[in-house]
Amino acid sequence: MADRSGTPLVEMRDVSVSFGGIKAVDHVTIDLHPGEVVGLLGHNGAGKSTLIKCLSGAYKMDAGEIYIDGKLVDIQNPRDARAHNIETIYQTLALADNLDAASNLFLGRELITPAGLVDDARMEAETRKIMARLNPNFKKFNAPVKALSGGQRQSVAIARAVYFNARILVMDEPTAALGPQETQMVAELIEQLKAQGIGIFLIEHDVHSVMNLCDRASVMKNGQLVGTVDVDKVTDEDILSMIILGKRPEVAAS
């Protein structure tokens, strides 16, 4: 159980985003503490991905504030987010299909030689090191990632977030395209990262894995926050009724 007495690692306060008159996110406030996993749940179109993309710099908020370690920050683009050690693993696997694993892992942050050229050999060596830790079965280092399976691609995406010492990790349905064994791998990884004090926002559809992996769950419906609950104090049914009916359970409001 994460310690939630200190300053939150991330606080998104009163965030609103609209697309052409439709409020995709409507005055939502969520927070995240170090070493904590917060699940974001809701139907498709509930606004979870939109909300979280404001944190990773892919979208701009219309209103609201983001605080990191209690300090107001301005995130305009993905570069700003990276500068605050926010790493995102997208549902759509933001990989360049035509490049190999090492090029993707280091994309935007290449290692360079003293002469200013890209140091492919060193990047491949680093990639081999981190993949040996995350996914020892990974062997295709010289193939474009197009040639990889869903799980292998996902491990490249995760390796990218882990390698650069993320403090805040956003995972948008990280197991959606994976088989059972690979899903297990991701679950173990989340435990590992949590133990290192990393805060994780986990967007998930599957209530069961939220109950297993998360400390708290924030449920959204029609762009609004239904509520945030401690998963220990509620049942699967409570969360489901929050998702489906938008009804806040009487008990464990946190």
Partner: protein
Amino acid sequence: MADASASGTSIGRKNIFKTLEFDTRLLGMVGAFVLVCIVFNVLTEGRFLTPRNIFNLTIQTVSVAIMATGMVFIIVTRHIDLSVGALLATCSAIMAMTQTQFLPSLGIDYGSPLMAPVAIVVGLLAGGLIGAFHGWLVGYLTIPAFIVTLGGFLVWRNVAWYLTSGQTIGPLDDTFQKLGGIGGTLGTTASWVIGALAVAAACYGILQARRARIAHEFPVKPVWAEATLMALAAALILGFVATLNAYSVPTRVLAREFEARGEVMPQGFTQGYGIPFSVLILIAVAVVMTVVARRTRLGRYIFATGGNPDAAELSGINTRLLTVKVFAMMGVLCALAGMVASARLSFHSNDIGTLDELRVIAAAVIGGTALAGGIGTIYGAILGALIMQSLQSGMAMVGVDAPFQNIVVGAVLVLAVLIDIIYRKKTGDV
């Protein structure tokens, strides 16, 4: 039995290519090029593969090949540039006007050593700025590149016309003219030196790559494979130099040169042309562009953006600025190509570079650049330009009528892309 042995050898051959880590697509293109050469050599009764014709082929290819290297980056980032021929004309006009009007009006007259360098710098700057402007329209104002450069095609063709009032501008500066081709060559000795340096550089590159892999304990090719690669590179480079050196300056030209110096030409004196300066420029462009593509962040971002623009953007790459850079490079290369083209003609003509946009795009595409983006090589584009030029001049030598020449070139372009599609489907290659 026959079947078994046939498949046996084909597997063996595949393994050899695999061990050498040859790009099969490159082999295909080289094969096509060799085939074109042999067919025309037979049809022309041996006149196609003479040092003289090979020399001419190389200098005719330079201008389009220089632009094709830039077009690779444009197409890899999922854009297109239809304005390169027109932009070449504008840059060429600016360089010609600088030499005949602007500089003389500043008191720098014909024959001044400042003439050529100033004209070239002005031309390259103009090309770079116009290209960057195209890139800004495409990247920041999000107008499709097709439209921007279709407009540019009309605009720059006629800016060139306006600048020169449609007249032929010349003669150009003597030093400037040397960059065009036959008027400026290295001579045999210097060509051999350059060839030797190139061989040394190629071998050093192969060794260095091997050392880096060993240092990180990656698998490496067997020593014999590396040695074969080095020998092949050396043979190709030295063979090319030998061919260009074997093309001798006609005796009449030599005699005139001696006369001009007030000397008498010794009996039996001969002199080879060697590598033309324009070909050296192309080689330099090819090396620089290949390094940019493979070993710089800029190149990595160009290919990443082509492969998945969203991923590139989410990885923190400024794809808008990248578009400006790519188009600016294309503009500079157009100016460079304009310099070579007008220097070769020794004047600027109003129709210079007409239809070059299509030749350049065709060269890049025949060279394996995928219009869907993300894939393409610099050497492929240059080879593509060489294949196109060989076809064109080969047919001219055989005496094929002009309309048929263009019909064949057009058909070959479509066929090349079809073969590429089939190849990719078969191999599942990207």
